[in-house]
Symmetry: C2
Subunit: 130 residues, 2 copies
C-alpha cells in the first residue's frame, strides 16, 4: 500500500473544505479545524480566536452570497509540507467573480495522525489612494 | 553546546527583519527571503512573485511612512515550527498606530540549514457595508 504524501493529504483536506463551503455544509466547513483556530478574515474584526467565532465568520459570509459552486473557488493552490507542519496559499474567486479577488493562506499541523487547520488568513488588497 | 530550537531561530529571524524595516535597511529586509517569495501585500496588486517585486513593496511602504521604531511593530507573534516547515502569525502596529491595524502571516522553510521566508501575507480588514 502506497502511503499518500503529506501534500496529497492536505490537498484533499483543503478541497473537501472548499466543497463544504460551496455546499453551505457548516459541519464540513468546521470538520478539519483546531478548537483554537486563529482567523484573519476579509471583513472586520482584526482577528477571531476559536472555533465558535470561526463559525460566525462563515455565517456572515453566507449572508452576502448563497452557497453555490462559484461562491468560493481556490485557484493556484500551493502546499508546503513537512511531517508535522504545513502552510498553503491560494487565490480566491468569490461570489462568481471571473478573476481571483482575494488571497488565502492556511497554517496546518498534524496531530494524532490527522492534519488540521490552525490558522486562516483571508484578505482582499486595498486600493491605493491616488 | 545547546542547540537553539527552531522557534528561537525563527523568532530571531523575524525580529531582525522587523528591525531592518524600522531602520529602512533594505539589505536586511531582504536577507532571509527566498528568491521566489510569494507576497500578498496590504495594497494592490493581488500578489507579487519573486524577490525583485518583493523589494518594490517595501519601496512603496516607505513612500507612506519614513523608517522609525514605530513604523512597523509586530505584536502577538506566534510561531509553529517543525524541522523543515514553519508558519508564524502576528498583529501589526503601523506608522505609529497605538493599536494593531494589520495582520501578518509568514510561511518559512529550512534549506541548507537556514530558515528563509517563502511567503508573506499582510492585510488590513475591510469595513463591512452597513
Amino acid at each position: 500500500m502506497r502511503m499518500k504524501s503529506h501534500k496529497e493529504d492536505i490537498q484533499s483536506l483543503i478541497r473537501s473544505w472548499e466543497c463544504a463551503i460551496q455546499n453551505g455544509d457548516m459541519e464540513g466547513i468546521l470538520a478539519h479545524h483546531s478548537e483554537s483556530v486563529l482567523m484573519f478574515d476579509v471583513p472586520e474584526s482584526l482577528q477571531t480566536v476559536g472555533i465558535d467565532d470561526y463559525r460566525k465568520t462563515w455565517e456572515l459570509f453566507f449572508r452576502y452570497g448563497a452557497p453555490s459552486q462559484e461562491v468560493f473557488v481556490i485557484e493556484d493552490l500551493r502546499i508546503t509540507a513537512s511531517d508535522e507542519v504545513a502552510f498553503a496559499t491560494g487565490l480566491l474567486r468569490i461570489g462568481g467573480s471571473s478573476e481571483p479577488v482575494c488571497r488565502l493562506t492556511l497554517g496546518l499541523t498534524k496531530r494524532n495522525g490527522q492534519w488540521q487547520i490552525e490558522h486562516e488568513h483571508h484578505s482582499a488588497p486595498h486600493q491605493l489612494n491616488s
